[in-house]
Point group: C2
Amino acid sequence: MNIILLSGGSGKRLWPLSNDIRSKQFIQIFRGEDGKYESMVQRVYGQIRSVDSEANITVATSKSQVSSLQKQLGEEVGICVEPCRRDTYPAIMLATSYLHDVQGVSEDESVVVCPVDPYVNKDYFEAVKRLGELAEEGEARLLLMGIEPTYPSEKYGYIIPESNDELSRVREFKEKPDAETADGYIRQGALWNGGVFAYKLKYVLDKAHEMIDFTDYDDLYGKYEALTKISFDYAVVEKESDIKALRFSGQWKDLGTWNTLTEAMEENCIGDATLNDKCENVHVVNELDVPVLCMGLKDVVVSASPEGILVSDKEQSSYIKPFVDKLEGQVMFADKSWGSFRVLDIEEDSMTIKVTLHPGHSMNYHSHRHRDEVWTVISGSGRTVVDGMEQHVKAGDVITMQAGCRHTIIAETELKVIEVQLGKEINVHDKQKYELEK
Amino acid sequence: MNIILLSGGSGKRLWPLSNDIRSKQFIQIFRGEDGKYESMVQRVYGQIRSVDSEANITVATSKSQVSSLQKQLGEEVGICVEPCRRDTYPAIMLATSYLHDVQGVSEDESVVVCPVDPYVNKDYFEAVKRLGELAEEGEARLLLMGIEPTYPSEKYGYIIPESNDELSRVREFKEKPDAETADGYIRQGALWNGGVFAYKLKYVLDKAHEMIDFTDYDDLYGKYEALTKISFDYAVVEKESDIKALRFSGQWKDLGTWNTLTEAMEENCIGDATLNDKCENVHVVNELDVPVLCMGLKDVVVSASPEGILVSDKEQSSYIKPFVDKLEGQVMFADKSWGSFRVLDIEEDSMTIKVTLHPGHSMNYHSHRHRDEVWTVISGSGRTVVDGMEQHVKAGDVITMQAGCRHTIIAETELKVIEVQLGKEINVHDKQKYELEK
């Protein structure tokens, strides 16, 4: 099976655990089979592998997610990087072209496109696999997964099938309706549109060529910015006449809000948290080093991270986005493929951060125009290079760097450094990168 | 008026804003007349001064509060320091002896003892003053303030007066009753015992001499540890026959829990906090640098500090103490007379803190056996002394100190330093102090 996982979006609806650089699919909140916490993307990846160990999985995403994907799925994961965000149709075009031109997938093979973040069980990916097989057999030009609705949701688009058979031709599509209208659709046998599409590779490739003149993947990549933002649903699905939907009645949840996310949590607390016995239906996810104490709350989610603290009624948690949009501020932490950083303190003319490097990893060799830096190694060992001079470092060593000086640090063991930045204009864009001569 | 303010207690009921070293009376949460936030102790001190500008105010407290008191009330505030905690009777004995022997107050002058943390208006201190005058006139050997109850509280002791006159002889005292019993008392005209006592200085001094053999304040101070823990109510008040209560019907609130404290807050939010319009009766006190977002909460208090995060139903917030007792941990921040510190990061073999020194202040000259330290000055200027070597320092300077090395830093302007501590056994007790040769 060739599967394209669409991994998009900034995860403001799950603030403060998601932010501009950590999307919701990377939050490690589910118990995996080994008892460790895993993210949505890790869970989905594992489920696909268990259904089809030979599956050719490609994640279509933006550059900002590459390091998180490699960290969580391993360096060898197939990633098709969009040069900029252009909604799902361009993303699917680019990934389809990537499969064809980079991976050598034949035009007659089927491709299934699937969001990276449904909360499902293996039966879902068995249905996904079957969709791919139906596409390859030519059952229709386009095949969709229709989710059996469990309530008249206003959040999803609806598929009206011609029959209630497991596989049925699609009569029409309906936009997100109000609850009453949704109820009417459901009584007619309507299904939720789960955003899963299967087609023969040639189908999308041909359409792409109709839309824009390009020779191959590299050429399309170069022209990507010129593409119009448009969803695959609008541009393709709703215009296709030869289209069928496969009815799926297993578990399917969209964990896009705290309300739905906490329903999938096995424990009430992740991180340092105490609930008294008067708490009912309370969930806490605490990524800070200090304790959270909850007393007498009902239907509340509490989430704390270096970005901020959310305390919300579960129902109301669906409406946080406009409020989060207004919360300006520094990105306070990030997990990267090379390690992580966390902002510890911000003052007018200084910032203190903790940098953790995984063994064998390093920062870019870089300099800053407008700030000096001081590193104090607090654990581990490695090497620093400062203006070409290499030095072995270990816990307790201090390295000072003036503005303009080129520097990097390479971890031998896991290495932790307290970095104090000093200057009048501290910002993330003040960084020039260089090649490090080996 | 001679007034002894009893400033006691660790403030666990107002965790995480109060901790073992910051008691609730120092939390700056009330709008003062100048619009700035002030603490309970600042508010009470100002109210006493405005009622009696000549008042002789002495705060009876433990050593741990001296720096906070001096910081909030000024260096010249009268403080009688208990060498150890021994409940209210020994504390009042010691403070009374301090007034007599150190301040030279005559035996015939009256003394009024008052808790430092009632939330009241000026009329309360006018009543306090009058109590002192009544004691001095010999109206009774002991005079109390009886607060007109506003509801049948189970939290207070009750005074049963002989009459409903403004000033009445006391018939008897009742322990904290259940609500039904309290209701019965109130129908008889009972009053809450507000913990305010007035007497002629000689009265308590004579009783003290009956209890323990001592010559003067210094001698009593030396013998203080031998005194039994006992409250003034049990030891003196309930045994006195010549005792009257002055009825007080003005505002009197005990802000000992989040529930009552938030009632006294003028705004719903102190610090960086956003409430959506579905929040009802929600209060947030946020001392962290990151935002708090509250959605759809009702009757909830949220408080965040470097110590932790409390999210509590208002009513339930009265019961946090046993939970807070179980939350072990490092003291994460402290305000001191010389400045403040805040723990930024804790790792197995290192700790990173930010130290702020007020202009003209310095640390003790000290050394550590088991840890090295690195200072990076992030703002301001001053001098360091390291093993006797003095050096001028400013933002960007780095000072490294091996274990055993004696060191201090003296602020010229306000000075901020990131201190990285490195070692296997980092703890606050690893500190040897020395005299700094000038």
